[in-house]
């Protein structure tokens, strides 16, 4: 069973700044469940000039209770992230998906970041950076599509196909479990998207207020704990993010 979840959002920042924040988004006060981020590959397509980056995230967190009943041993998950930056067309395309336990539940998130055409063009004062070749609108649109698929029960159902007659109830039961997992996954996915937006916003604000050099230094030295002090009141009650 496959389900899709779609949403669109606009950040009040220029496209180059949003792409920078994307690569710098961890750690932030909303990403306490992200344990680590490593770069697996980075190359530039010699023809298009597009930048391709593959990263591996390790996320830890509580599974929703309903799901944990069926797959209780899962405490962390590896996430593969592929992104392509196309500066000529000002497009950042990303794809993230879970690597392990995807026999049970596969979540693939695709995002496309483009300048928001409905936003006004920027004045010199708010321009991304002096010397930049880009004239971006002052806002960036991000379209998110999540493909969500639970596979629990599907394989077993196939195997017992010929015995459907007297195993019908049992099969229906497995279908119910699948439905529950998908339902829980969908609601926590919505929360997850909201949290990741809040995290991006904090990184963007920090970039604007404090500049790249200080951000990188502070992320390195104190992680998000120090950020929380800067943004008093921000980031409260966001601990224990769910993995999905």
């Amino acid at each position: 069973m496959v389900k899709f979840f779609e949403s669109t959002f606009s950040y009040d920042y220029q496209w180059p700044a949003v792409t920078l924040a994307y690569f710098l988004r961890y750690p932030n006060p909303y990403s306490t469940h992200v344990v680590s981020t490593d770069t697996l590959d980075m190359h530039i397509d010699p023809i298009s000039g597009n930048l391709h980056i593959t990263r591996l995230h390790l996320k830890r967190g509580k599974l929703p209770k309903t799901v944990a009943r069926f797959i209780p041993k899962i405490k962390e998950s590896y996430i593969l992230e592929k992104s392509v930056v196309d500066t000529r067309h000002q497009t950042l395309s990303t794809e993230t998906r879970n690597l392990d336990w995807n026999g049970v539940l596969s979540v693939v998130e695709n995002q496309v970041y483009t300048p928001d055409p409905s936003a006004k063009s920027t004045s010199a004062a708010t321009h991304w950076a002096p010397g930049s070749v880009f004239t971006s609108p002052a806002a960036t649109l991000v379209k998110t599509v999540v493909k969500f698929e639970s596979k629990l029960g599907a394989a077993r159902r196939e195997r017992t196909e010929e015995r459907r007659g007297w195993l019908g109830n049992w099969t229906a039961g497995m279908g119910g479990v699948r439905g529950t997992i998908e339902l829980v996954g969908k609601s926590s996915m919505k929360d997850g998207i909201q949290r990741s937006r809040e995290g991006m916003k904090i990184v963007l604000e920090q970039l604007r207020e404090r500049g790249l050099v200080r951000i990188v230094k502070e992320q390195r030295q104190g992680g998000w704990e120090r950020w929380k002090k800067v943004w008093r009141g921000e980031g409260q009650g966001v601990d224990g993010g769910e993995m999905i």
Partner: protein, 86 residues
């Protein structure tokens, strides 16, 4: 900057990440698409450490396999969507 999966690679990762993000914001986003020799060297160094750690954790093959297959072009022969470098 986020931590590395392998603590022993953290220093190398930090050096590479810093190099990358500076190159990305100062050069790449300003239209200079040539790779940075300095960052490439740092990446090579970091990657040696990381690959060793991924193998030790027994997840290297799982990752390599997953990287070859994109969920959006299932059904295509493996490698058909690959860049020249892979």
């Amino acid at each position: 900057m986020s931590a590395s999966l392998a603590p022993e690679c953290s220093e190398r990762k930090e050096r590479y990440d810093t190099c990358f993000i500076n190159w990305y914001s100062e050069k790449y986003l300003r239209g200079h698409t040539e790779p940075s020799k300095e960052c490439e060297a740092l990446f090579k160094d970091y990657k040696i450490c990381l690959n060793k750690a991924l193998k030790e954790k027994g997840i290297y093959n799982m990752i390599e396999e997953a990287r070859k297959n994109s969920p959006n072009n299932e059904g295509q022969p493996p490698g058909s969507s690959c860049e020249p470098s892979c």
